[in-house]
Amino acid sequence: MSDRDEVQVARWSAIKCKVGTSLRELRQGQHAGDATAFGSRSQARLAGELEELGYHVTQSMVSRYEQGLLEAPLTLERMVGWALCCEGLGSQAFKELLVLAGYYLPWTTADLDAFDDLLRSYRRLSLIDQVAVRGRLLWHILGIEVSHESYG
């Protein structure tokens, strides 16, 4: 294992339980004020939606990431993709998740409000349309372009 990998693995070991818990809460809609207002995504459905975004994350990997059991670090783009697939996502939870992962999101309060507005409109779309928008959102949030084969 190279030095760089060791650093990444050590870092991931330190945060994987917290990140896993946060991702599980997002999937189950527990980050939203009223959990009943947002449906809980099943692990299988989340895995399927991540696959549509172009990320190979199986249902078993979803389960093990949530329990903090997987040694392989979850990349930033998969983490953001995961968050965008969750109905309970809100700007504050999103920012906190990225802070946990060591990524500072340079958003002002107005940006956070705008993101919440955007999420509200986005959740009213059909799943097919959500998938198309989600792929683009990755670029706008992180500058990551999803290959055109993986969506719309």
Binding site: D111, L118, S121, R124, A132, W139, G152
Partner: protein
């Protein structure tokens, strides 16, 4: 200042001009050429366009952020429909918020009859206004919409009094345009447009 699209006012004016030029009887362009010209124009002005998306309830959407603006249009649309979506999204850009840089925001264009039922009132109000502005763009006559929509700077004016009158008139026109469909139709009549242009020229030009 930036809105949902970089240089939204210039983009809207140019889009209307391109549509107007390509519909003159001596040089009529087909729908495909007009839609292509609109897309080229948008891309030249910094808007990424993708016309290959598989969408279901949407005809297209606009995403804007400090990283840029993109318009995504359904691959199932005809050329005329694509042009309409571009005009609509540009209309939304004119009506949307503006700030020192592009804001993180989205605007969705729904297939008729497939828009969600529980949309907020402000979104529905913007949609109605965007319809009217898009019609003005598609007619190649952006001036058929109130000036404050596509030009925030009203010019120096002849003096403080005429500037105040001018601003009052334009604000009143915009307020009426937001509330009344009859006024939208009236405002788009060539004779009314010409009259308002003349009043603006008189009061708005420097003494």
């Amino acid at each position: 200042m930036a809105s949902l699209v970089p240089h939204a006012e210039t983009t809207a004016a140019n889009l209307a001009r391109v549509i107007r030029l390509h519909t003159v009887p001596t040089n009529p362009w087909g729908p495909h050429q007009r839609a292509s010209a609109a897309r080229r124009l948008l891309e030249e002005l910094g808007v990424r366009c993708d016309e290959s998306a598989a969408l279901h309830d949407l005809k297209g959407f606009l995403l804007s952020s400090p990283r840029g603006t993109e318009m995504v249009v359904s691959r199932d649309l005809t050329d005329e429909q694509r042009l309409e979506v571009y005009a609509h999204l540009i209309a939304h850009a004119l009506l949307g918020p503006d700030g020192p840089e592009l804001a993180l925001a989205a605007r969705f264009e729904y297939v008729p009859g497939r828009a969600p039922g529980e949309r907020p009132a402000h979104e529905l109000r913007e949609e109605l206004l965007a319809d009217a502005v898009a019609r003005a763009i598609l007619a190649g006559r952006l001036e058929a919409a109130p000036r404050l929509i596509y030009c925030r700077d009203l010019g120096p004016g002849r003096g403080r009094f005429s500037r105040a009158v001018l601003r009052g008139l334009h604000r009143g026109s915009l307020a009426l345009y937001r509330r009344s469909r009859s006024y939208q139709r009236l405002r788009s009549l060539p004779v009314v447009t010409a009259f308002t242009e003349r009043v603006h020229s008189f009061l708005g030009s420097a003494a």
